[in-house]
C-alpha cells in the first residue's frame, strides 16, 4: 500500500490572544444596532436561520435605542433595570471582598454580564421557573428576592435557608422561580425542559428557562435538552451565556467548527437567536419574544447571549495566567451598565449626578444589609447552622441508620 496521503495532524483551536499579546476582536462581526428584524413570535425556525449568525442589538454607539426590537420598556423601567445592575455589581464587589477577608469560602461574580440575568428577569411571570447557573443572580436581585437571604446563604450562617449545606451562591428559591443550583455543569439545562414539558402535560400556562455557559454546552446534557425540547415542542427558553471563557478555556474549544453556539439549534429545528448580552434593551426584547413564543405554544427558543466575563472565573481563579489583562477593555460590546446609563442620559431621563447618587445609595444599602447578615454570622464565626442540619433532609423521613449516625455524631 503506497502512502498517497500526507500524515494527519490534530487540530487544537487556540484563542486569538494569550497573556502578553494584543487583544484583537477584529474578526468578531458586530451588526449595526437595529439591523436584525423582529420576526413574529410564531415564525418557522427555518425562516430565521440567519438570526443564529447575526446579533440582535438595540443600543447604538450614540446611546440611542433603534430598530424594531426597541421601545418595549419605559424610562422608569429602564431606570429600575439600571438599579438592578448596579445593585448586582455592588453586591458582587462586597461579597468578593468578604471572601477575601475570610468571611466565606468561595464566591463567583457577574462583572460585565449583569444585563443578561437582570434584563431577562423582566420577561418572566410569577410561576415561571428558571434553571440557572451560578452566574444568574440577577434573576434574584431583579426578581425581588431578599438580598439579606442571599448573604446569609453566602455566609452559611444560622439564617441560611439551606442550613449551610450548599456552597456559597448555590441559591434555591421555588417561590422566586429559581431552581436549586447544583454546581454540576449542564445537568439542569435538561431539567428545565422537563419542567416545561410538565407544564404542557398539565395544561398550565407557565414556562421554564434553562441556563448554561458556553463551555458547558459541550456537556451531553446540553444536547439532551435540545432533543427533548425539539421533539416535544416544550415551552422553554434555552439560554447560552457565551462569556467567551470557561475558566481558562476559550469558547472555541466547546464550539468547534460551527460559527456560533446559537447555530447548534438548527440541527434540532429550534428557533435560534443571538443577542448582544451587554445591551439591556436587546436582552429584554429577545427574552420577551422567546417567552411569548413559548407561552403561545410555539415551542422552544435557543438564545445565545454574547457577552464577556470581565472578572475571574471565581475567587479561586487568576485569569492573568491564561488571557491578556487588556482583553476585557478591548471587548467590543462594552459594559452593560455604562451603555444603559448612556442611553438614559441620551434620552434625557438620567444624569451623571443622578447616577453617582444612585451608586452611592445602592452601595449604602448593600453595606447595611451586609452588616445585618454579619451580625447573624459568617462562615466560621457567629451563629452557624447546627451540625444536626446536615443529617436532616437527606430523606423526608430520616431512616434508622442515619438516626444512629446522627446520635453517634452527638447531635
Amino acid at each position: 500500500m503506497s502512502d498517497d496521503f500526507p500524515p494527519l495532524s490534530l487540530n487544537v483551536p487556540e484563542p486569538g490572544c494569550r497573556p502578553g499579546s494584543t487583544p484583537d476582536f477584529s474578526d468578531f462581526e458586530i451588526p449595526r444596532a437595529g439591523a436584525v428584524k423582529r420576526p413574529p413570535t410564531d415564525v418557522d425556525p427555518d425562516a430565521i436561520r440567519d438570526m443564529a449568525f447575526s446579533i440582535v442589538r438595540v443600543l447604538n454607539k450614540d446611546g440611542e435605542a433603534v430598530g424594531d426590537w426597541a421601545g418595549a420598556l419605559s424610562p422608569e423601567e429602564l431606570r429600575e433595570g439600571l438599579r438592578h445592575m448596579l445593585t448586582l455589581r455592588a453586591f458582587d464587589a462586597r461579597m468578593l471582598n468578604a471572601q477575601r477577608q475570610g468571611k466565606t469560602s468561595f464566591y463567583m461574580q457577574h462583572l460585565g454580564e449583569e444585563a443578561v440575568s437582570c434584563a431577562f428577569s423582566r420577561a418572566l411571570r410569577p410561576g415561571d421557573m428558571n434553571f440557572p447557573t451560578y452566574r444568574q443572580a440577577g434573576l434574584l436581585i431583579a426578581g425581588g428576592y431578599p438580598m439579606l437571604t442571599m448573604m446569609n446563604q453566602i455566609y452559611s450562617n444560622a439564617d441560611d435557608p439551606l442550613h449551610g449545606r450548599q456552597l456559597p451562591i448555590m441559591y434555591s428559591s421555588k417561590e422566586h422561580g429559581f431552581f436549586s443550583i447544583s454546581g454540576n455543569l449542564g445537568t439542569q439545562f435538561v431539567q428545565s425542559v422537563g419542567w416545561a414539558m410538565a407544564s404542557a402535560i398539565s395544561g398550565d400556562t407557565k414556562i421554564a428557562t434553562g441556563w448554561i455557559g458556553d463551555g458547558s454546552t459541550a456537556e451531553s446534557d446540553f444536547h439532551s435538552a435540545m432533543v427533548f425540547a425539539s421533539t416535544y415542542d416544550a415551552p422553554v427558553v434555552l439560554n447560552i451565556v457565551n462569556n467567551q471563557w470557561a475558566i481558562s478555556t476559550f469558547q472555541g474549544i466547546a464550539r468547534g467548527g460551527v460559527g456560533t453556539f446559537a447555530a447548534r439549534g438548527h440541527g434540532f429545528g429550534i428557533a435560534s437567536i443571538r443577542v448582544d448580552g451587554n445591551d439591556y434593551l436587546a436582552v429584554h426584547a429577545v427574552a420577551k419574544w422567546a417567552c411569548e413564543r413559548a407561552r403561545q405554544g410555539h415551542g422552544p427558543t435557543l438564545i445565545e447571549h454574547v457577552t464577556y466575563r470581565a472578572g475571574g472565573h471565581s475567587t479561586s481563579d487568576d485569569p492573568s495566567a491564561y488571557r491578556s489583562k487588556r482583553e476585557a477593555a478591548a471587548w467590543p460590546l462594552g459594559d452593560p451598565i455604562e451603555r444603559l446609563k448612556k442611553h438614559l442620559i441620551t434620552i434625557g431621563e438620567w444624569s451623571e449626578d443622578r447616577h453617582k447618587q444612585a451608586e452611592a445609595e445602592i452601595l449604602d444599602g448593600v453595606i447595611a444589609t451586609q452588616k445585618q447578615a454579619e451580625a447573624v454570622g459568617t462562615l466560621g464565626g457567629g451563629k452557624a447552622p447546627s451540625p444536626r442540619d446536615m443529617f436532616e433532609g437527606v430523606y423526608e423521613t430520616m431512616p434508622p441508620h442515619l438516626i444512629r449516625q446522627r446520635q453517634e455524631a452527638g447531635y
Binding site: 487544537v12 449551610g164 454540576n184 451531553s220 481558562s248 442540619d389
Partner: protein, 337 residues
Amino acid sequence: MASMTMIEAIREAHDVAMAADDRVVVFGEDVGFFGGVFRCTAGLQQKYGKSRCFDAPINESGIVGTAIGMAAYGLKPVIEIQFADYVYPAYDQIVSEAARLRHRSNADFTCPLVIRMPTGGGIFGGQTHSQSPEALFTHVSGLKVVVPSNPYDAKGLLLAAIEDPDPVIFLEPKRLYNGPFDGYHDRPVTSWKNHPKGEVPEGAEIVPLGKASITREGADVTVLAYGTMVYVAEAAAEASGIDAEVIDLRTLLPLDLETIQASVEKTGRCVIVHEATRTSGFGAELMSLVQESCFYHLEAPIIRVTGWDTPYPHAQEWEYFPGPARVGEALKKVMEG
C-alpha cells in the same frame, strides 16, 4: 532527590512518562495552556506540543470516551477529570466500556488508560468539590484504583499506573496537594518541605501498584487508611497514646491483603478509616476481608470511622470529616472491646 509538593510530583510523573514514550497523551478540562486548575499538568503543553497535551471540551463522558478510543488505537492517554465530583457523566464509559474492553474482546482490544481526579474534602468545597467516590470504582470488575497520600508515592504510583496495561482510576486527595493534613483544621497548615515523603527521586522510579505501606509501626491495633486519612490516623494514634500500626493502602484494587493480614494477626484489632460515606463504602469491603482472613485472631469487633451518609456539607465540614477525635474514640473503643 528533590523536595516537591504532590502537585509537582504528579507533574513530574507526567513529564517523565511523556519524555519516555510518545504514546502518552494528556488532556482534560483546562489541562492544556493553563496546566489544570490545580496546575498538575502545567508546562506540559509548552514542552510536548498541543497534540500531546490539550484542553478538552467540558464533557467528561467525551473525555473518557475519546481516551478509550485512543487507548484502543495504541496510545496511552492520561486524562484529568477536574474534580472526582464531576466524573459521573463519564461513569458509563468507565464501567461499561473501559473496564470491560479487554474481557469482552478477549484482549483483541485493551484499554491502557489512567483517569486522574482530585478527590476528598477538607477545603470547604461543599458537595461538588469534596466527594470520595472510590467505592464506585472498586465495585467494578476490570478497574484498578489507586489513592496516593504523599508526593513520593504520587509520582511512583502514577508512573506505575501509566505503565499498567489496564484502566487505572487515580484519585488524588486534594487536601494533600500542598502539604500533609492531619485533620486539625484549626492548626497552621504544614507544607511538604522538610517532610520525608516530600523528597521525590528523579527519573522513572515506580511505586508498584498493589503494595500497601506501613507508615507507623505498632503492636496493639491496625488502622487501615488511605489518602488524607493516613495523617488523621497517625495523629489520632499519637494523641491517644495507643500503640497503633497505620497501614496506608495506597492501592485499593488490587489490594495488598497480605500486609493487612500480617498486621491484624499481630495486633488482633482493626480500625478502618475513610472519608467517603459509610454504607457500601470501601470500608465495608475491608471489614469483610479482615473478618474472612483474620477472624480467629480478632480480639474485638472491627470499627469503621467514615464520613456520614449525607451529602458532603459546606458549613458542617469539620463535623462531617472523620478527624482525629473520632478516630481516637474508635481506637479507645477497639482497645476496650
